[in-house]
């Protein structure tokens, strides 16, 4: 276990100089207006167009994406080329489930810290509404036999073997949201946490209503300048996160039926993250690049940690990723000015808050004598979260980092912690700092 050494120890400082995201668009059951690459290009071209350097000046492009389309394999390279970065800029795609977007930023930061790069475009994109629908293996087998069949009688015989089950389609999105090792849907892991920390349905719904309220307020007060609109080829403009429900209320949420544990369950569509399409991209730079291009600095990436937890309780991942960062940075929970913990489920964020301040949890699960000071709900996800604006899995990690930097800038505060839980039993966390003295630290 190497939790005592900070992620970029011995490396150069890493700056985030700018970032941009698309509006997050709620999936409506059919493929949305943009593919994953279109989303990333939409976010990226607006971002690059406002830089003083040409896209070719980038050292690499790293994107998180979990379900690229069949024609978007290594989507980062496709996006880099479409953004005009040119053939010589390498690009790679990372996959750590819901942590993919943050993983891309961590990978970029590592490359900058250790001198392999000076200027990197990193982030995540996901078009969940475009998740492919597949044929089951036995149908593929039959198709392959059909292609090899030499005679009409052979083909007739194959036709006779067709059964209804051959047409049972595999929805990759549903498969992706199920943990194969424990055979639980992500929603069910949230139910487990709710039970463990005695979180009521009412608490979850209150949390969800608040998430929508905060997002609506942020929209009204113009706090989401991190969004550049997207435009479809027929001229339609998408300029805001359209999952927000301004009419969200306890009354409406209480009526919803549980979505995963159909009887006795508490996790509903209303208190879970929405299925959405969206991309978020950041530009990371070394001090050299900041100086060379006179770049403004949004913030500095101080540290990053990844942790493994039981797949059944994957929602607690953030606790295990955030804890070592505070410990090795010598910080108290109260030193963190703002928090972003991705809202995969209301129950899951509430569970993280409960575990964070629980003496028992600190002792048994984190091996700490003292628990952390409670996270102030007024400092957590201040402008709403994935329950209201959606969770395009590959991009959320990049979105919370980008938004946290915006919050720090707006409030003039110093430290922020972004964290998320990761399907399969992991957590990721990133410590950010607003740095005034851009480019002068060594």
């Amino acid at each position: 276990m190497n939790n005592t050494r900070h992620a970029y120890a011995g490396g150069r400082p890493v700056y985030i100089i700018d970032g941009n995201r698309t509006p997050f668009l709620k999936a409506s059951g059919k493929p949305g207006p943009f593919r994953a690459s279109d989303l990333a290009v939409g976010a990226g071209k607006a971002l690059l167009a406002r830089q003083p350097f040409a896209p070719e000046a980038l050292d690499e492009v790293i994107l998180g994406c979990i379900i690229p389309g069949p024609d978007e394999i290594n989507i980062a390279r496709l996006v880099a080329l479409r953004l005009g970065c040119g053939k010589q800029v390498p690009a790679w795609t990372v996959q750590r489930n819901c942590g993919s977007g943050m993983q891309a930023i961590d990978s970029a930061a590592t490359d900058i810290a250790f001198g392999r790069a000076d200027l990197v475009l990193a982030g995540g994109t996901e078009a969940m509404s475009h998740a492919p629908v597949l044929l089951p293996p036995r149908s593929v087998e039959l198709l392959s036999a059909w292609r090899q069949a030499r005679s009409a009688t052979e083909r007739l015989r194959l036709l006779g073997r067709v059964r209804p089950s051959h047409f049972r389609l595999v929805f990759s999105l549903l498969q992706g949201l199920t943990d194969p090792t424990v055979n639980l849907s992500m929603g069910q892991t949230a139910e487990i946490l709710a039970q463990r920390f005695a979180i009521s349905r009412e608490e979850m719904d209150v949390f969800a209503v608040e998430s929508h309220r905060r997002l609506a307020q942020a929209q009204d007060e113009g706090r989401l300048a991190e969004i550049e609109p997207l435009y479809t080829n027929d001229g339609t403009v998408y300029d805001h996160d359209d999952g927000v429900r301004r009419d969200s209320s306890m009354e409406r949420l209480t009526k919803l039926k549980p979505a995963f544990d159909r009887i006795y369950g508490m996790v509903t569509a209303g208190n879970s993250a929405q299925v959405s399409d969206g991309a978020a991209l950041l530009l990371l730079a070394s001090a050299d690049a900041v100086r060379q291009y006179r770049l403004p600095v949004l913030g500095r990436i101080v540290d990053c940690a990844w942790a493994g937890v039981a797949p059944k309780q994957m929602g607690l991942g953030p606790v295990h990723a955030m804890a070592p960062i505070l410990l090795r940075q010598g910080l108290q929970s109260t030193d963190i000015d703002y928090w972003e913990i991705n809202e995969a489920f209301a129950a899951q964020v509430l569970a993280c808050r409960a575990a964070w301040r629980s003496a028992g949890y600190a002792r048994t699960e984190l091996g700490l004598e003292q628990p952390f000071a409670a996270i102030d709900p007024e400092r957590l996800n201040v402008d709403g979260g994935a329950v209201a604006l959606g969770h395009p899995v590959g991009s959320s990690g990049a979105r919370i980092v980008l938004h946290l930097l915006q919050v720090l800038k707006r409030t003039g505060m110093r430290r922020g912690m972004a964290a998320l839980c990761i399907g399969g039993g992991q957590g990721g966390a990133m410590l950010l700092e607003q740095s005034e003295e851009a480019g002068h630290e060594q």
Binding site: V41, K45, A46, A49, R50, Q51, P52, A54, R82, L83, G84, E228, P229, Y231, T232, N233, D234, G235, T236, V237, D239
Partner: protein, 690 residues
């Protein structure tokens, strides 16, 4: 013919181990291959040298990246002084190409890129043709656009190969074919990726393709009994596009085909005579002139300033949006700024439509779309090499915008205004560095109108102007440097012509009759219809601006129509009514009296003389080129000043004086006519001076 040439300037010759002789054309001192007299002479020597030797095959190919052969050397056209000269030149070409045909060994043309005009004729003289399937491969006969038709045996060989209907269609329209289309027509035998051209060559020689039999339709159309009927049909369809009085070439081609008999030698001779007649006629001479004027305009943009990569356009209306779209299509990184996001959405939509129409292929369309970046907050200003302002015509708003833009622009970026009516000098005051301000006046619609006026005020720096002109050329438009004066060149010349047409309407002449007079002269669209298309409100506001500077009138009729909300085509009614049933192009009216034509055209010509005298543009050729490419002025007349020379300056001047007596001072000849006479006395101008 002796074969004493041992080294060749334009050709390389070599035999490969398989015994195939490769003749590679790589024209000296030129980036593009064309068939000059020298190129043909050398080829003749090479072929003569081959007599006696029996190579397995002879291959003709190009050493240029950009293509095979782009056609005849058009600059040699202007050296032709007489029909005899022309005939000799053409017969010489026919003779050399016939030598290829009668070589007695298999001959193959390996084609990539442009294979046009004489180049295609040369390829057709080979027994086989293999073309690269690259999108850059284009085959065709654009001769008709220069007022001629193929003359090196191309009419006969193409008709023989693909049939009269297909071949004539190609030659009459001048349209070019992709490799795939050419293969479908059997104009080429094989299309393969360029990397496989040599493999295909070996395969073809090992197993030559069977001769193709023409379709029944083509064979029937070629029968002597059917030919007059087909010819009449073709002439009727050509007449919809080109007036036989102005554009004789397509009609001559149809007649030539109809006259073809069984005697091949006579046919070739007839072809040569037909081209010789056309090439010395005024239509072709002026169309060649138009081609050269186009080259002259292009040269205005050939400056050694840095390449423009990124532009920022402010204003997402029709002009701003279309400029942005066009620049993205031509490969620039474009940010387009407008506060109104729905307008940006419309720009994206129009971009998608244009790119799909032009580029077709999905990935190419996507790439162009990716270069077009809507930018509601104008954050692309800081990266742009050129910032183009295309907001509404209000000097205060523009000045305010410039104040905001300048501090955010790169120090080396230039600022270009698309204004058509506000003097740049009035705007320059808002800038701390006015030398970086120029005008880039695009015409609507941007994707159709080739000309862009590059407007210089006294303060504009030479570098800024050079970069603006280079940008125009880079986006495949024609830059015309003009001096900053109201209306610049094109609008200024068009305005009196439009206003005279309105006066005629006021006098009771039906609009269709006036328009007919103009189109009979050779204008692409009559002045009344043009006014309706531009919008009468815009015409009126321009007329008001002009009235302050020039002795033009503001028409009462125009004011009435605008006041009544009749703004032209956009409102459904102007001088004409537009609707489901009214769109009829003409109520043809009686043949217009020459009077109408003189009144509208002489006002245009008089204004052209004024612009020439005032040196709105540097010289007469730039003026003619600008007016042709900016307004569509009858190309076969070679431009307004060329027309004055052809028609006789004295006669036109006299006519102006008559009109002045009858209609007043708006016909008073410009003092520039006197200078024209003087110039004519010192240097007689029969041939287009270039």
């Amino acid at each position: 013919m002796s074969s004493d040439i041992t080294s060749y300037r334009h050709w390389r010759s070599g035999q490969d181990p398989a015994g195939i002789v490769h003749l590679t054309l790589d024209r000296a001192e030129s980036s593009t291959n064309s068939l000059s007299r020298e190129v043909l002479d050398e080829l003749d020597h090479l072929l003569t040298d081959l007599k006696g030797a029996t190579p397995r095959a002879v291959v003709i190919r190009s050493g240029k990246r950009n293509g095979f052969i782009a056609g005849a050397d058009i600059n040699e056209f202007t050296a032709i002084k007489s029909a005899e000269d022309a005939l000799q030149l053409i017969r010489r070409g026919q003779e050399v190409l016939a030598r290829i045909e009668t070589l007695g060994v298999p001959t193959v043309a390996l084609i990539h890129g442009f294979c046009l005009g004489g180049g295609l004729e040369l390829a057709l003289a080979c027994r086989y043709r293999i073309a690269s399937d690259d999108p850059g491969t284009r085959l065709g006969f654009p001769e008709v656009k220069l007022g001629i038709h193929p003359g090196f045996g191309g009419t006969l060989r193409s008709i023989r190969l693909v049939g009269p209907l297909a071949a004539l269609e190609m030659m009459l329209t001048g349209r070019t074919l992709s490799a795939g289309q050419a293969k479908k027509l059997c104009l080429v035998d094989y299309t393969v990726p360029e990397r496989h051209l040599d493999n295909a060559l070996r395969a073809l020689l090992a197993k030559p393709p069977a001769a193709r039999i023409l379709s029944l339709k083509e064979r029937l159309a070629g029968l002597p009994v059917a030919r007059p009927i087909v010819a009449n049909f073709l002439k009727r369809s050509v007449a919809k596009k080109a007036d036989p009085r102005h554009y004789p070439a397509p009609y001559a081609l149809i007649d030539l085909w109809r006259s073809f008999g069984s005697d091949e030698t006579a046919n070739y001779k007839a072809e040569a005579q037909s081209v010789a007649r056309l090439i010395t006629g005024s239509s072709s001479r002026n169309l060649v002139r138009v081609f050269q004027l186009q080259e002259r305009l292009k040269a205005q943009g050939k400056t050694d300033v840095g390449r423009t990569r990124a532009i920022h356009v402010v204003g997402g209306g029709v002009m701003g949006g279309d400029i942005a779209i066009w620049c993205a299509l031509q490969g620039l990184q474009v940010t387009i700024q407008d506060l109104d996001r729905t307008r940006l959405g419309q720009v994206v939509k129009r971009g998608q439509l244009l790119f799909s129409r032009i580029l077709k292929e999905r990935r190419a369309v996507e790439t162009a779309m990716d270069r077009l970046v809507p930018d509601p907050e104008g954050r692309g200003v800081g990266r742009a090499d050129v910032v183009i302002e295309a907001i509404f015509e209000n000097a205060d708003a523009k000045r305010e915008l410039y104040r905001q833009l300048e501090p955010r622009m790169r120090p080396d970026a230039i600022l270009a205004s698309n204004t058509s009516s506000i003097p740049l000098e009035e705007l320059a005051g808002a800038l701390s560095r006015p030398e970086r301000l120029v005008g880039l006046h695009f015409f609507n619609p941007v994707d159709k109108m080739q000309l862009v006026e590059v407007v210089a005020m006294a303060a504009s720096s030479a570098e800024a102007l050079a970069r603006a002109a280079a940008l125009v050329l880079a986006i495949k438009r024609l830059p015309l440097p003009v001096r900053s004066s109201p209306g610049f060149l094109v609008n200024r010349i068009l305005m009196p012509y439009l206003l005279e047409a309105v006066t005629l309407v006021e006098e009771g002449v039906p609009p269709a009759t006036i328009d007919r007079a103009a189109t009979d002269f050779g204008m692409p669209m009559g002045p009344v219809r043009l006014a309706d298309a531009v919008g009468l409100d815009i015409c009126l506001s321009v007329a008001r601006v002009f009235a302050r500077h020039y002795k033009t009138e503001v028409s009462a009729r125009l004011e009435q129509l605008v006041a009544a909300g009749h703004l032209g085509r956009k409102s459904g009614k102007g001088f004409y009514e537009y609707g489901k049933h009214h769109e009829s192009r003409s109520a043809a009216g009686d043949l217009p009296p020459a009077e109408i034509c003189d009144r509208i055209m002489l006002r245009l010509l008089n204004e052209a003389v004024a612009c020439w005298r005032e040196q709105v543009v540097a010289d007469a050729d730039l003026l003619d080129g600008g007016v042709i490419f900016g307004s569509g002025f009858a190309p076969f007349r070679g431009g307004p000043l060329q027309h004055i020379r052809d028609a006789g300056a004295e006669a036109l001047y006299t006519r102006l004086r008559e009109l002045e007596q009858r209609h007043g001072t708006r016909f008073t000849p410009d003092p520039g006519w006197q200078e024209l006479f003087q110039e004519a006395q010192t240097q007689p101008p029969p041939a287009p001076p270039l």
